[in-house]
Symmetry: C2
Amino acid sequence: MPADEKPSTSVWTRPRPRQREHLTREQIVAEAIRLLDAEGVGELSMRKLGTRMGTAATSLYRHVANKDELIELVVDEVYGELDVPTAPGGTRWRAAVTRTATELRAMTLRHPWIAPELGQVGLVHVGPNAVRMSSALLAQFEAAGFPAHEMDQATGTLMAYVIGIATTEAAYLSQIARSGKTEQEWVTGLRPAFDDATREHPRLRAGSSAQRDAHPQRIRDDNFAYGLDRVLDGLTARLTP
Amino acid sequence: MPADEKPSTSVWTRPRPRQREHLTREQIVAEAIRLLDAEGVGELSMRKLGTRMGTAATSLYRHVANKDELIELVVDEVYGELDVPTAPGGTRWRAAVTRTATELRAMTLRHPWIAPELGQVGLVHVGPNAVRMSSALLAQFEAAGFPAHEMDQATGTLMAYVIGIATTEAAYLSQIARSGKTEQEWVTGLRPAFDDATREHPRLRAGSSAQRDAHPQRIRDDNFAYGLDRVLDGLTARLTP
DNA sequence: TAACTCATGCGTACAGTGTTCGCATCAACG
DNA sequence: CGTTGATGCGAACACTGTACGCATGAGTTA
């Protein structure tokens, strides 16, 4: 019905004079995050984002140069969700670092679509929020007493661990999300295929798979905490020789 | 000139009867890796891959279900490059694990385009080569003396660290490769912008940036080795209480 | 030798993508 | 009132992954 679209003279059918600033960079980024959270990274297209905001796809290009740039903005925006504690003195640095790491992981699991992007922009990506986070983490290690030249390496080690495990988990969760099942259904459903594939590698079939199928999420939490403790153990050993 | 394309009767102009098995799954995967190494992940399209192999794009679909499946195959193929040492007894487990980790990182840096894929398929991806690798690594930790239930968590910790740091490095290297510069040119060229962006976060400006600009690759190597040692320190501590 | 089967290659087509360009609109300003 | 400059948007381009159906010809059977 093109008649509907024609410039009708009636005040009611005529589209509102679309006030300025209806479309801002902030709103676009926010809506993109909402879309990504809801439908995953494969469903983010400029046109789809456009219709969601009630505009044409090409209008977005007035506020954002690229889809790539949009993604950079989006990634930095979720970094902004992190609330990194300021560096405490004494021996409480470990608690602070643990909290930072835990929050970074939680953020990644909240937005699993970020995993492939981290592999593309990495941490070269220097948005303001990412910079703030890195700086705060460095401060925590400095307060712990690491010498200047080692402070860098120590934070790098921690970040690598957290990003590595969170990325792996996020990829796993994305795959589950795409299937529409819950984590438990997915795990128990795939069990026979997995057992079959690893028949010649019995070592891969760890622990009581029954228990593992029951509380997959709890096991992931435990694994994360275990590794984090080991990494921090290894780093702490450098402080008290 | 469509005349050229028409089914000419001459034996010479007529295309060779294209012997069977000209196109195999193995050849497709191999050529895809070559293309990825040469031009990066953004340049891999089925048509481009097709013309490279002297066939039409759609012909590839006789041997590969999807582009996604092709990528799964490609990822597992590069896992096959790894030569994981068999588990040694005694205290030499640490050397073996170190070598495995180093090789895994080297493989990722050889094929930087793999980083975003690892974030998509993660390690849920159970191709035969990936399984072989995981199994061998588990064996190394078992030989080290980890109890059964902890063996899993220990390997997970190590893998997370290696994947995290290698992924970050790979993303960084991909970005450089796309710019056409060398790593040194890139680093020194971006220095002013970086210094500017981190003016309010002086902690981020680590060490003598002059030396850092001179041997960026060596510094990455050192950082990797440092973190790997810390992670292994933390894990070793669990063995001798 | 002749007929048949069926895996393989490929041309065409479709729906969808990111992005460019030029035109229309309209708030703000002189 | 006239001008300017920012903003929205329709149309178009080059490109993507992939479904479909037809042609070919090697291998097998009669």
